[in-house]
Symmetry: C2
Subunit: 193 residues, 2 copies
DNA sequence: GACGTTTGCTACGAGCTCGAAGTAATCTGC
DNA sequence: GCAGATTACTTCGAGCTCGTAGCAAACGTC
């Protein structure tokens, strides 16, 4: 799948070098954490990229498309996308340009604030998003080599790491997510009525 | 440090959407694992990049330089670098070009195989590598917000994930690392003799 | 209601990544 | 000892990221 086995575990090898050379256990373990995350990221990103590329997407384009597909209004402002997916504004512009070229998304002016523009998913975009997600689920996500219990432990440890590094607003996160879910539930109820 | 807090935890929010929409727990947990790794990677990479940039390096350049700095011969073949650091050959060429421009590394022909060229670290390169590492240790690695016990648990879980995804040769990894350490120990002994 | 500040987006450009094709050296099988 | 395959590296070019600068709309203050 686009990569070869390395001859040995680079994380473990570096950790030993660090312990011997820098004599500060916290530096060695921190380096190991970063290197392990980097390598794991590369391993999974390779697989994910292969899948989304088969649907004529890149991962950032797929990510944006998926958030649009699950939004009750089918549209999000470019600045919201930039903030929550942590993509610089100039990059968001480029991503939406490409998605628009492929007719998966449409730019729409914001009804009350003329400064902001919304990206709205098209029917075609929704179809592509769903197909890509099913493929990703089956080809990558369900095949990660860890038991359900270990996946949860891993996600929890990374959540703590991110929270301590203030990657997201820990205080408000829970309620914001609840708000969003309520809006979605409302939307589904009224759509099926 | 170059990023703002997101309004909520994207990993947790996506996990809930997945559970409701795709009804396959393994897909939801796998997606959460990938997203958590991606976000953690971005969080730490931002910090790491800020530090190495202050030393006029990019992370891949720093990584190569560090491996050269700890090598007993102070030199590695470009193909070895490509394989073990998982960097495509064309990218290695570019990295070594830039390091050579900055006089941190020198290209040297391989003594017995005219096809392969070695990258050899210069005195200046060694100094830059050490300074950057001290800075990274103090500014990033020692400050990761997890206890020593949790760092170890995290690194172990990621090692299992990588091993199951055959990121490295599990069978041989241990002995290869031992070999390298013996060579390094030998080298130090003879250097101080 | 005018003025300075903030916010949201886009245009531009420099820099990086990496697939594909090309060149040169080496190895393999006969 | 030679033809064909393999290995190592480089060149080229397309595509992506993202910092910077710019513009327009909206907001806050007086």
């Amino acid at each position: 799948m686009g990569f070869e086995e390395a001859p040995f575990d680079v994380v473990e090898a570096s950790r030993r070098v660090w312990l011997e050379r820098w004599d500060e256990p916290a530096a060695a373990s921190g380096m190991a954490v970063y290197t392990a995350i980097l390598r794991s990221y590369q391993l999974l990103a390779d697989q994910v990229n292969d899948v989304v590329r088969a649907h004529d997407l890149t991962f950032p384009r797929y990510e944006v498309l998926t958030w649009l597909a699950t939004d009750p209004d089918s549209s999000l402002s470019l600045s919201w996308i930039s903030k929550t997916l942590r993509i610089p504004p100039a990059t968001v512009t480029n991503i939406i340009d490409r998605l628009e070229d492929d007719k998966l998304v449409r730019r729409v002016p914001h009804p009350s604030d003329a400064r902001t523009t919304l990206a709205e998913i098209t029917a075609r975009g929704r179809r592509v998003a769903d197909e890509a997600t099913e493929d990703l689920n089956a080809s990558v996500y369900e095949r990660i080599g860890l038991s359900e219990a270990k996946r949860n432990r891993l996600v929890d440890l990374l959540a703590e790491l991110r929270a301590k590094g203030s990657e997201f607003d820990v205080e408000r996160s829970g309620e914001v997510i609840e708000e969003v879910r309520l809006r979605q539930a409302d939307h589904r109820r009224s759509a099926s009525a």
